[in-house]
């Protein structure tokens, strides 16, 4: 018998012994790591062509606002992303939040038939096919989109309800400035009106300074084509601005001389000048996603607190975390790169001693703007003779209360 064969014999014997031991339950935990006989995922043609997640992963979006479907009648129906299950900073396209207006359907657009027109106060009106846009110099950037209505209240129970109408994706497309320069903006062309092709032809006015700065005409999202719910085949992205300005199913950009007061603009209109100044660009904001409302801690011991921070004012510069209701703050770690106008993951090591705790996070952006407590916002406006509610978008600090039994609850009062 050769040495090789004897080694193999030895291995087979020992392997058999090990298997026997498992059969007797001597190493029970390991059994759970071995799929039961026959428990495998068949490599069907469909799965070979386009993969899917495990059946054991059940994280899903939820309708926000209580309506069962966006096709049902609704003024503004939104679908919230499951931030409580998020890891990293990319929201998977299938879980990205969706904002719709007037019970909007999702148009089913053949990209070969789709066109983008640029006209109005330009030297050369232009029409582009999607393929033509793909020939132009491209950029790929991480950006969040957030609905202006992403406001937390005390009745919400989970982070999906308090903050689920924001998501972050890697967007690929052409800078809008590239297209506007190609068309040649005329003197006095201070605004654009961007319009979609869906049934209500949703349109938004955007200042030219923003349009020329960093707006994107996107055909790509998270490494593939933009999803229909996100505007396939073309979506305008206005980084850091209220989500409604990131016009989906983009078909037309008109350069104009003034704010055009479209129906969508009217819906976001403000009466007060300070309110208006706060309304367009999302303020510095963050939320702890783990532990967050509705989750359950297993017991005292080590936990990594995880959360997301973002700002319409640029990159996240700093995130602090408090575990005692805001009395003491500790700098959190920024995980990965803090991209401009993008979700940024932060973490903090935490040894939970089993006592009731209140978790909070606070974001500071590159402009030096600091995320406020709800009470600070009220105080600021009260001092200026305008007491009451949170103005602009709600970027206030979200408190989560961890009870001594490990359950986690919304602590907004």
């Amino acid at each position: 018998m050769s040495l090789k064969r004897s080694v193999r014999r030895e291995f087979l014997k020992r392997g058999a012994a090990l298997a026997g031991g498992l059969g007797l339950g001597a190493a029970k935990p390991a059994v759970g790591q071995t799929p039961a006989p026959g428990a495998f995922i068949k490599g069907t043609d469909e799965r070979v062509a386009y993969g899917e997640r495990s059946q054991y992963v059940t994280s899903t979006r939820i309708p926000h606002g209580g309506r069962p479907s966006p096709d049902a009648f609704g003024l503004d129906f939104h679908i919230a992303a499951p931030l409580q299950d998020s890891v990293g900073v990319i929201t998977p396209s299938s879980l990205h939040y969706v904002g719709t207006t007037r019970g909007s359907f999702t148009p089913n657009i053949d990209p070969a038939e789709h066109r983008l027109m640029i006209h109005g106060m330009v030297e050369r009106p232009l029409i582009f096919t999607v393929d033509e846009l793909k020939r132009l110099p491209s950029v790929t950037r991480m950006h969040f989109i957030e609905c202006a209505g992403n406001r937390a209240n005390r009745r919400h129970t989970t982070v999906q309800e308090t903050h689920g109408m924001t998501s972050c994706a890697e967007w690929t497309g052409v800078l809008l400035s590239t297209l506007l320069n190609e068309a040649g903006v005329q003197e006095g062309g201070n605004w654009i009106v961007a319009e979609g092709v869906e049934e209500v032809k949703g349109a938004s006015s955007i200042p030219m300074s923003k349009a020329m700065d960093d707006c994107l005409v996107c055909y790509g999202m998270n490494g593939e084509a933009v999803r229909p719910q996100q505007g396939f085949p073309l979506r305008l992205l206005a980084p850091g601005f209220e989500g409604i300005l990131s016009v989906k199913w983009l078909r037309r950009i008109k350069v104009v001389d003034q704010f055009y007061m479209t129906y969508s603009d009217y819906g976001h209109l403000r009466q007060d000048a300070d309110d208006a100044a706060l309304s367009l660009q999302i303020g510095p904001k963050s939320v702890i996603t783990y532990p967050s409302g509705g989750q359950q801690l297993a017991g005292r011991g080590f936990y990594e607190i995880k959360g997301l921070a973002w700002s319409g004012g640029g990159a996240v510069a700093r995130v602090e975390v408090s575990t005692d209701g805001g009395r003491n703050w500790t700098d959190a770690q920024i995980r990965g790169t803090a991209h401009r106008m993008a979700h940024t993951r932060f973490t903090l090591n935490w040894e939970w001693d089993g006592s009731e705790s209140e978790l909070m996070s606070r974001c500071t952006d590159e402009l030096g703007s600091v995320q406020p407590m709800r009470a600070q916002i009220t105080e600021y406006w009260t001092q200026r003779g305008q007491p009451g509610r949170v103005r602009g978008q709600d970027n206030s600090i979200q408190p989560w209360r961890v009870e001594s039994d490990g359950s986690v609850h919304n602590a907004i009062t």
């Binding site: 033509e132 040649g184 479209t262 009466q271």
Partner: protein, 188 residues
């Protein structure tokens, strides 16, 4: 040597010439007809409004014919779709207190015309004629006490309908630029 001295100037000239002309030469020029067909934006001045006209009396008919009543209710109240008539709880109230109701809160009459034209009626959006849109707009303004029932609205007078919020809204501040804090002295 002489040429070398002129070089910066030459670069400048060429550079500015490039800014005036397309760089990539991709995309085609739409015809005037194509632009007209696609351009449904109606700005506050109403310069894009098409020819046509309509009164509230006619609009009340269109409101029934086009089944607006099925979603918005009789005379703009009581349907599953948004209410179209102001909620008048007390006289001389701030127009903002009348509710988020398009034909009364909108600062410009053109926004009302534009949205009926682009977004109504449900499942047949964009099929109304210009006359029908003028008539419906007049009807909604009549229901909100902004025009008389026989007043005829057209491209010339529609932009001049006196909306109560005409100057009662806050535009983006003049100083606004991308990358600035949102509000001066606001620490958040």
């Amino acid at each position: 040597m002489r040429l070398l001295k002129l070089l910066p100037l030459l670069i400048l000239l060429v550079g500015s010439a490039q800014a005036q002309s397309p760089t990539f030469g991709i995309g085609r020029t739409p015809s005037a007809d194509e632009i007209r067909a696609w351009d449904i934006s109606i700005g506050p001045t109403g310069e894009e409004l098409p020819p046509g006209q309509g009164s509230a009396v006619e609009g009340a008919q269109v409101y029934l014919q086009k089944a607006c009543v099925g979603c918005h209710g009789v005379a703009g109240v009581g349907g599953p779709a948004p209410r179209l008539v102001k909620n008048e709880r007390r006289a001389n109230a701030d127009p903002w207190s009348l509710g988020r109701i398009l034909p009364i809160r909108s600062p410009y009459a053109t926004t009302v015309w534009d949205f009926i034209n682009r977004g109504m009626p449900l499942n047949a959006e964009g099929t109304l004629t210009a006359n029908e849109v003028y008539a419906l707009t007049a009807y909604l303004f009549f229901l909100n006490d902004l025009v008389e029932e026989d007043e005829v609205l057209d491209a010339q007078n529609l932009p001049n309908v006196e909306m109560p919020n005409r100057d009662n809204w806050a535009p983006l501040p003049d100083w606004w630029k991308p990358g600035l804090p949102r509000l001066v002295d606001y620490p958040y």
